[in-house]
Assembly symmetry: C2
Homo-oligomer: 223 residues x 2
DNA sequence: GTCATGATAGGAACACGTTCCACCTCGTCC
DNA sequence: GGACGAGGTGGAACGTGTTCCTATCATGAC
């Protein structure tokens, strides 16, 4: 309830980050509950994405989501305790989708820097193709507090996993990354996030964002 | 009009700062209006800081601010068009204060990395001394959209100025920084912001934050 | 079949950001 | 002094996130 509680997950910093402690295979939220419940959950997230895509953060109104998902408002709140949770969960699902699209296929590029930039550009292109959706999800991510730690963590893990595979294409497990590589991954994630926020809030253009990331990567991976 | 300074910070992307259109020496908001108006403005910002410091973002309620500043709600909205503007303006004032406290005094430290870390640690300590206030101001900063560009810009400039002086203590004007140094400054600012968000939202501890910044700085300034 | 139990529907109610309106106050100009 | 107008006051009202309550529905135990 009170967002001040120091909860778990704190020992390993999360940020966009460290996949350090895998939370012992938490059951994916898509796998719990009855079939009807999974179906409702999916409808809710679909409605969320649709509304976000149409009008951004402000357009994702809980009453609208409930109506479009054909679910009562109280039910919506039973599934997602707040608008922020709802949007961060949606973000998690989208991120997962993106990661699965990339998985398997090797990342093109000779050097680590090239591959990382490639990955980030692909991600950015995907996001910029749907500005409203991106705005909604990013805002939610930035506004989430510790009560959404679990969802945030999933997103961070996915990001780490994508970047890691770009850094070292032959690595199987993220845990095998060296300390410095983990740090680099984290910094790049931070820059990416900041750039994204700048873009979402209209403070910088898409070109700015891309340039900012390229510069950061070239500073960090100059070998 | 103004002497063309061709400084690097304006054309490049923004990160914490540079809005696309530099507002050409806008008169500081503390210098406009009648004495009574400046006084009202100050009372409003004081009330904002006080409430934020007591209970964070949620405690800064427009009705409360108006009441504590002894001002009508409509007047409050005449001075600051939204809660976000209000908080970002307050952030700007606080940041200015911090920067003025640092100005003049040389930053201790042998290497650039040491000095940058020192500055950031001082900043972080200041922020962590008042978590509620920090939470309120950071949330606002992250949530601000382009309508608050001017205020955001002030904050970004201040940050850049502080970091620049740490990088090159003898520099007089920020515009003299080399391209790479500007880029480094920006990346560090990004990491700092991300770390701050992580801390504010309860996703990471103060120690995490400090460590995260140190690692980033040492990666970026390893000469 | 009946019943108990938990989930859902439907909707009222509340809190807070924001807008709007009617009226008042005070400095300025004639 | 009186009229004017910008800016201030007090408060009602609206929208949206959130909470809460009651009736209805579904499902498994017996």
């Amino acid at each position: 309830m009170s967002p001040t509680s120091t909860d778990a997950t704190t020992d390993a910093s999360t940020d966009l980050g460290t996949a350090a402690t895998a939370p012992a295979a938490a059951p994916s939220p898509d796998e719990v509950g009855s079939a009807a419940q999974r179906e409702r959950r999916k409808r809710i997230l679909d409605a969320t994405i649709a509304l976000a895509s149409e009008g951004g953060f402000d357009a994702v109104q809980m009453r609208s989501v409930a109506e479009r998902a054909d679910v009562a408002l109280g039910t919506l709140y039973r599934y997602f305790p707040s608008k922020i949770h709802l949007l961060v969960s949606a973000l998690g699902r989208e991120f997962d989708k993106a990661e699965q699209g990339l998985r398997g296929r090797p990342v093109p590029g000779e050097t680590a820097a090239e591959r990382v930039i490639t990955i980030l550009k692909m991600l950015s292109r995907g996001l910029q193709a749907d500005p409203h959706l991106t705005e909604a999800l990013t805002r939610a991510f930035m506004f989430a507090d510790s009560s959404a730690t679990a969802e945030i963590h999933r997103v961070g893990m996915t990001m780490t996993s994508m970047l890691s595979r770009a850094l070292h294409p032959d690595l199987v497990d993220v845990g095998e990354l060296g300390e410095e590589d983990v740090a680099i991954t984290k910094v790049i994630g931070d820059v990416w996030l900041s750039a994204l926020v700048g873009w979402v809030t209209g403070r910088s253009t898409a070109a700015d964002t891309a340039h900012q990331i390229e510069v950061a990567v070239s500073l960090l991976l100059r070998d």
